[in-house]
């Protein structure tokens, strides 16, 4: 197996673990964290591994990978803010909630 297969396999494992986290985690925010961090690294490594395996496709693969790397945190941030503002409660095991004041202030303004 060459280097490209190893990089692709690393990314594939992370993609599967991220999806498993989305299915298993108890809370919207935990699911968001698992689903965003794991899939960002997983998609980056998978696409770059395909670019290493097929060198004539490398630059297109790099463009797609950098685009995923830039836009995935932005959309997850927007989704987390939306779920905080729409009043989704945290799971029962939560000890500290530092975003409580933020949500209340935003609701008062609007």
């Amino acid at each position: 197996m060459s280097v490209g297969w190893w990089v692709t396999g690393f990314g594939v494992i992370f993609l599967f673990l991220g999806s498993l986290g989305v299915y298993r985690m108890p809370d919207v925010y935990n699911r968001l964290q698992a689903g965003t961090k794991c899939t960002t690294l997983g998609a980056f490594c998978t696409i770059l591994g395909v670019g290493i395996l097929q060198p004539s496709w490398f630059w297109t693969c790099l463009i797609i990978a950098v685009f995923v790397l830039l836009t995935n945190p932005i959309s997850s941030h927007a989704l987390g803010r939306a779920s905080c503002l729409s009043g989704v409660s945290l799971c029962e095991k939560t000890k500290v909630n530092q975003s409580e004041d933020f949500c209340k202030e935003e609701e008062d303004d609007s």
Partner: protein, 84 residues
């Protein structure tokens, strides 16, 4: 052979996301599951293009990534209660 195994593993990931999208108790749950499934599908399309040796899947993947980013942000703004 290895590529096919990788495709099956990523396909299982998409199935898990769709299951969460069906079970999710609130609307943000479904939006998060959709966002994850979209990112997984972007990588899946690139890998399908490599296994089938078709370059056009890379263009499909790029356009899919751009459009679904806009879609996720639009869904998030809608869940917040509209653009102020």
């Amino acid at each position: 052979m290895i590529g096919t195994i990788y495709l099956v593993i990523i396909g299982l990931g998409v199935v898990l996301c769709v299951l969460r999208m069906m079970r999710g108790p609130t609307a943000p749950d479904r939006a998060v599951a959709l966002d994850t499934a979209v990112t997984v599908t972007t990588a899946l399309l690139v890998l399908i293009g490599f296994v089938l040796n078709r370059y056009v899947y890379l263009d499909v993947s790029l356009v899919y990534a751009v459009l679904t980013f806009v879609g996720s942000v639009a869904i998030a703004r809608y869940l917040e209660g509209g653009i102020p």
